[in-house]
Every structure is written in C-alpha cells, then in structure tokens.
C-alpha cells in the first residue's frame, strides 16, 4: 500500500466508525485534544482499523505512542515498510502480509525440531 492509500483508509475508518467530519481529519490534529476522542471512541476506532487493515493491534505497544492523526498514518506506513524490508509482499494488504509474517515466524521457530 502507498502512503496515500493508507491515509485514505485511516480517514475512511474515522468517518465510518465515528462519523468524524472529513474536513477535521488533518495530520497535525491531536486525537484526544483536538478531535475530542475519548477512550471508548478509541476502542471503536481500533476495532475499525483492525477490520480495515486486517491486522491485530491489541498487543501492539507502538499504539500507545500515538498522539496525532499523522502518528496513526505513520504507524501503518512503518508497519508496511517493516514487512517489505522482511521481503513480505504487501500488495495484497497489510492483513495478508501480517498473516504471512506469522507463518514465517512459526516455521522459523519450529525449524530445530524438524528432522534432518
């Protein structure tokens, strides 16, 4: 996914899950202070982002560092870049790429037990 596609997908999620007006969705806006989201809105948003990108965000520590909308874009852009650096094809979406990454981690973890 390109950065523009990620931005579009994140914004679409804000609109779909929270009905935030599109004109409010600027990268410099702070999620809590400017857009006025609270912790329960964040739960709705995370559910929407997980569904849209096909990835699980529950155990992700980087999520806690997000302050602005731009940070949300950067979070998914960085996720996509990390996967590409590991040679994972991200053209079918982050969800498919994340599943392939899990498969690789499982198979590399079980290699010592495999017979020669």
């Amino acid at each position: 996914m390109t950065r523009e596609e990620i931005v579009e997908a994140v914004n679409a999620t804000f609109v779909e899950m929270l009905e935030v007006p599109e004109e409010e969705l600027k990268p410099e806006k702070a999620i809590f202070k400017d857009l006025g989201l609270d912790s329960l809105d964040m739960v709705d948003l995370m559910i929407g982002l997980q569904r849209r990108f096909g990835v699980s965000l529950r155990q992700n520590e980087e999520i806690r560092k997000i302050v602005t909308l731009g940070d949300v874009y950067d979070f998914f852009v960085n996720m996509e870049e990390k996967m590409r650096e590991q040679g994972i094809d991200t053209s079918k979406g982050l969800g498919a790429a994340a599943r392939e990454m899990e498969k690789r981690e499982e198979s590399s973890g079980s290699t010592p037990d495999k017979p020669a």
Partner: protein, 251 residues
C-alpha cells in the same frame, strides 16, 4: 481573600444550621419510612441532598451570589441524563436548581472521599465514574433511571475554570443509547470565578438554562461520537449567549 472568608464562612454556618435542622428529620425518615431498605434510604438521602443544594444556592450565598434558573424547554423534569457544562466547583450545588426530583450525580472519586458530603453521596447512590468500569456504570445507571432518578453528568470530567468547554467523555452518551433515555442539556454561566480553580470566591450572578431534551429517537440515530459533539455544540452556543447576557465576553 476577605470576601472568600466571608462567603465560605456563611456557607459553613448555613451547612451546620441545615444539618442541625435536617438530620432529625432525615433520621426519622430513615426510621419510619424506609424499612431500612437500601434503596429507600437512598431516596431519603437524595431528597435531603437536593434541598441542601437549594438552601446553599438560594439562601447561603446571598447577597454575594445570585442564582437564576430558567427552563427554556418548557418541559417537565423527567428521569433522564442531564448533561451540564462544568466551569467551577459550585456546579454540583447548582444542579439542585434544575429539578425538584431527587437526583444522583456522576462524580469523580474524590467527592466520595469527603468526610460529610462523601457519606451522603455514597448512601444517595451517586455514581463514582472513576472507580467503576463502563459495564458497572451502565448497570447502576439502568437501575437509577429505572427508579425514575435523574442522573446529573458533567462530561468534561473536570472544571474548565473559564468560559471555554473541554471535550466531552462519551461514557454517559453511550449509556443514554443503551438505556434509550433522553439527554437534557443544561448550561451554566457566570460561575467561572465562583469560586476560581484555586477556590477564591467572588460575587456575581449565575445563570442556569435548561434546554430542550434530545429525544431518545435522536439519541439512537446518532453514533456516540457525533452525539456527544452535538450536545457539546448546543451547550457551547448557549453559554456564549448566556455570557453575553451576563456582560462577559468569552475568550
């Protein structure tokens, strides 16, 4: 400083007077009317808290502070969720101007720990939103609304200390959707320095405006985020009008 001393002193004396006069009636009420059932004791406690609030705002603060309540909705008091803006620590007292129905307030944890007020808040079944998860707050709200007890909520969570409004926490808007109950916006203006955030008192006029209820159909139609912002906007616009009426300009 002197004014603060005088006003707080007067409120303290009135509180003692109210306690001396009201506690025998409260205890009699508990003894003869409640059968010692928790919910009945809570009803009696809420009744006394309500009239204590009215005593403070209409008697104890005079002649330094004048409070005027206007019901702009023309609607009767109902059991629903009343949404207030929150400028000052006098707001919880001003709540009692809005209705003659004994109410339960949604508070942070610290009021529950106050020696005198906390005791009555606990037996009055006030909701301590800081110490309970959402599901528990929903269950308690369902119980109170089911008993026709209006809930008084300050969704900013803390005093703004000025003419502005902080963003709203959405918990009680979600609860209104779950319970399919109306939201009643109530705007308070004029008390941003009565007292200040550092508890310094000033003289002044306080206006309280009860606005038309947002009916359950609208509450259901809107998602939680736009619903809380809709009410936020209504209260913002009303407080600007009220500040103009009081001769203050919003900064």
């Amino acid at each position: 400083m002197v004014l603060s001393f005088i006003i707080y002193g007067q409120v303290f004396l009135c509180t003692v007077l109210y306690a001396v006069c009201a506690i025998p009636f409260f205890l009699s009420g508990v003894l003869f009317l409640t059968g010692f059932k928790k919910e009945n004791v809570a009803k009696v406690a809420r009744f006394f808290i309500l009239w204590y609030g009215k005593f403070v705002i209409y008697v104890a603060l005079k002649p330094y502070v004048w409070v005027r309540f206007e019901n702009l909705s023309g609607e009767k008091s109902v059991a629903g969720i009343y949404i207030f803006n929150h400028r000052s620590s006098s707001d919880p007292f001003l709540v009692s101007a809005v209705t003659n129905l004994p109410v339960a307030q949604v508070v942070n944890d610290w009021p529950m720990k106050l020696f005198f007020f906390g005791f009555f808040a606990r037996i009055g079944e006030y909701i301590d939103i800081k110490s309970m998860p959402f599901e528990e707050a929903l269950a308690k709200a369902r119980y109170l609304i089911g008993k026709n007890v209006p809930l008084m909520v300050f969704p900013e969570g803390t005093r703004s200390g000025g003419h502005h409004m902080n963003p709203f926490h959405g918990a009680f808007f979600r609860i209104a959707k779950e319970l399919n109950c109306p939201l009643i916006p109530v705007a308070i203006a004029g008390n941003e320095r009565i007292p200040t955030r550092s508890f310094k008192m000033h003289c002044g006029r306080i206006l309280i405006h009860r606005l038309p209820a947002i009916p359950p159909e609208t509450v259901q139609r809107l998602k939680p985020y736009p619903l809380k912002n809709h009410v936020h906007r209504i209260l913002c616009e009303e407080t600007v009008r009220m500040d103009r009426k009081l001769g203050h300009e919003q900064k």
